[in-house]
Symmetry: C2
């Protein structure tokens, strides 16, 4: 099942069987039940999570108890609290499982070791980070420029699979629109 | 003056004089006058820009003629239309000079060549991209969760230098608040 990780890396750089085995030896398989919490706000963050199957979300609970969603992650996506992970600070986000989920975890130590050992893995993670940066810029532009209807339409066209698997309340929190507005749009 | 670039790289990885000379040989010095346009929406994007002095902005003009600001860049910052640059597609953003500005330009070809030639430069750009990703996540959370007053206060504390150099209208466009709201906050 780790083949899904290999396919993702090989979209950017080819690997021998031996290289992939070496890479994989730096990851640990973990399983989480639906509703289980992987990271709680305030935790130190040990791992980045590569989702093999299932669905996770990273969210921020504000002082008034309102939840804002930073990120979802389904199969073939990565998720963690990146600020806390990279800077080894306390988590701002809570990460929990929306479905039962299997992940490959990668500690920061192992990530940096892999990147130092294998130039092609450093290349892979640079490319992934560049792509992530572009996606976040698009989301910022959407938050600055698009109304609720446009944001919802962009979400549907970007993530048709997610739409089927997420309750509308969570999509509304991700898009920064009210549940009521989204209901009017999605009938 | 290219020492500013060397210092930035050396915060992440040490360089010999020879290595830095080799790196620098992949950049080209360019000067832009105040108000000059570096990239126009619809252009193909050749370069990433490292600012040595001056001030640039990347903005999006929507159908109604409203300007949204994706990014500013002063000394020691990088700026381009990253989607267009990395994917070699047409620019969505316009980049122009708010002050007379000197930059070092890096083409995508030269960036990839440097990263392939020198593992430590791939490492540098991966780290920069990770930091950029974290900064954009913070900005998204601020757009989702913070009101105009909080956004303005975050901006002041993050970018005290920029505050002095930017007209309020541009700060308002960056924060996604109205000019009138910002005026009330900044008196």
């Amino acid at each position: 099942m780790s083949e899904i990780l290999r396919r993702q890396i090989e979209k950017i750089t080819p690997l021998t069987d031996q290289e992939f085995e070496y890479i994989l030896s730096h990851f640990t398989l973990k399983k989480f039940k639906k509703h289980q919490i992987l990271i709680q706000e305030g935790d130190t963050v040990q791992n980045d999570y590569f989702v093999m199957n299932g669905l996770l979300k990273a969210s921020y609970l504000n002082k008034e108890g309102k939840e804002h969603i930073m990120q979802f992650a389904m199969e073939d996506w990565w998720i963690t609290d990146y600020q806390a992970y990279f800077n080894q600070t306390e988590a701002t986000f809570t990460i929990d499982a929306l479905e039962s989920t299997e992940v490959l975890t990668l500690s920061l130590y192992n990530r940096e070791k892999l990147c130092a050992d294998m130039h092609k893995i450093e290349h892979f993670f640079r490319k992934k980070s560049n792509n992530g940066y572009i996606a976040l810029q698009r989301r910022i532009l959407s938050l600055l420029n698009s109304n609720a209807k446009e944001r919802y339409e962009q979400f549907i066209s970007q993530y048709p699979t997610l739409l089927q698997r997420l309750p509308k309340t969570l999509i509304a929190s991700y898009l920064g629109v009210s549940r009521e507005t989204l209901s009017r749009l999605s009938v």
